[in-house]
């Protein structure tokens, strides 16, 4: 009604201060008009997004796999300074929140992103900032580890996006139906993916894992020298190479655990970009996981080779390693980093590498 009142009535008689009155009416009319237009536009965008998501959900329920389909929004996002946005977001979320306000902020976050506050290790008012709350630990016993010695466990909480077996020398991982990327682009050209020559060494090594407690001899002879091309037709036929892609929603628990008893030999950090990695982005961004900033850990477990790639995103740009606290990610950068080779650190040259048990904490994602 206040908006309507400001409209000039048609029969109003012109008066001396008509100029002021009408200019006064115009400016106050403009302000709510712009506000209303913005709200309407945001509402329309949100409604459009809800419609798209609903349509995708219905297609998935019918078993129809949504295919890769680049869109204008993905091209537009490529133009934005996403790393600066991510770092600003990190600054914002690391601001200290007054003690009395903390429970309200974290409950609001939990409601918006479906987080389970009961599992948080500390009382809510003990987390000084949203960033600290985001990387919270869980109460003891919140995540029981599957004791089956012949199983591989999930290293994170999340949603299974893709999984399968990698076949052929140019092994490709499916990002979404209709688009795949080479495993070597994800792990790096110097990846330790096994070839025939190494399989015997791995065989020896696999046996030695069980006898580690007995003998302290060095575990692993691996030639880091030349790049390797993994070719299953050449490697011994009893082992295959598998992959699994797990997406963590903003409300999920964001610490990373060890999927098995393994010995981490190499860490590779790719600076890259920080595009969003939500479900929609996987359908519209080409090479999403091999363009984004990520930390790759490679090593060996009882069944042979293992690699874990932690891929960042705009809102969650930092990847912390508890096994290498000094590693810094999401650093301010100027030029395009996509062409830059990864920064590599070889753990095993310092001894036997980083030995972790199944379920041990090895790192965490964090905001900004």
């Amino acid at each position: 009604t206040s908006f309507a009142k400001k409209l000039p009535t048609p029969q109003s008689t012109p008066s001396i201060n008509a100029g002021n009155g009408s200019s006064q009416g115009d400016s106050s009319y403009l302000l709510p008009g712009a506000t209303v237009a913005t709200i309407l536009m945001l509402g329309a965008l949100h409604a459009r997004r809800m419609y798209d998501d609903k349509k995708t959900e219905e297609m998935r329920e019918k078993g129809i796999e949504v295919e890769f389909q680049p869109d204008v929004k993905a091209s537009f996002l490529r133009l934005l300074p996403l790393r600066s946005i991510s770092r600003c977001w990190g600054q914002l979320t690391s601001l200290e929140i007054p003690v009395w306000l903390r429970p309200h902020v974290y409950r609001a976050w939990a409601r918006a992103f479906h987080s389970n506050l009961e599992e948080a290790a500390l009382p809510l008012d003990k987390y000084t900032s949203l960033k600290e709350f985001f990387v919270r630990a869980l109460k003891e016993g919140s995540r029981p580890i599957d004791a089956d010695p012949q199983c591989l466990i999930s290293p994170v909480d999340g949603t299974i996006l893709r999984f399968g077996e990698l076949k052929g020398a140019g092994a490709m991982i499916e990002q979404v139906k209709g688009f795949s990327y080479p495993v070597f682009s994800l792990l790096g050209a110097r990846s330790l993916l096994p070839t025939t020559a190494d399989s015997d060494v791995q065989e020896e090594h696999s046996e030695s894992i069980e006898s580690t407690e007995k003998s302290k001899k060095s575990w692993w002879r691996v030639s880091l020298a030349s790049p390797k091309v993994w070719d299953p037709t050449l490697s011994c036929p009893k082992r295959g190479l598998f992959y699994c892609v797990i997406y963590l929603k903003p409300g999920d628990y964001h610490r990373i655990h060890s999927p098995a008893d393994w010995n981490i030999l190499v860490r590779r950090h790719f600076s890259g970009n920080l595009y969003p990695v939500n479900e929609r982005a996987t359908r519209t961004f080409r090479n999403l996981y091999i363009e984004n900033e990520r930390v790759v850990l490679e090593g060996v477990w009882q069944e042979g080779f293992m690699a874990l790639a932690a891929v960042g995103a705009t809102n969650i740009g930092s990847i912390k390693l508890f096994i290498e606290p000094e590693l810094q990610t999401n650093k301010p950068t100027k030029k395009s980093l996509h062409s830059e080779p990864p920064e590599e650190r070889v753990y095993h040259s310092e001894g036997v590498g980083r030995v972790l048990k199944k379920g041990d904490e090895l790192g965490a994602f964090n905001m900004g």
Partner: protein, 46 residues
């Protein structure tokens, strides 16, 4: 954020004597929610 796991696992391993074989199989489906510590897959002698 996203985690991609790439790993070797038995596809068919003739065990000594018994002649049985092991085979890794995923115990999840696309779209499943999973938590730390839950099995992604197992391999058992068949």
């Amino acid at each position: 954020s996203t985690v991609v796991l790439v790993f070797e696992a038995p596809i068919s391993k003739l065990l000594h004597k018994g002649g049985s074989s092991e085979e890794f199989n995923f115990s999840v489906k696309c779209g499943d929610k999973i938590r730390v510590g839950e099995a992604l897959g197992r391999w058992h002698s068949s």
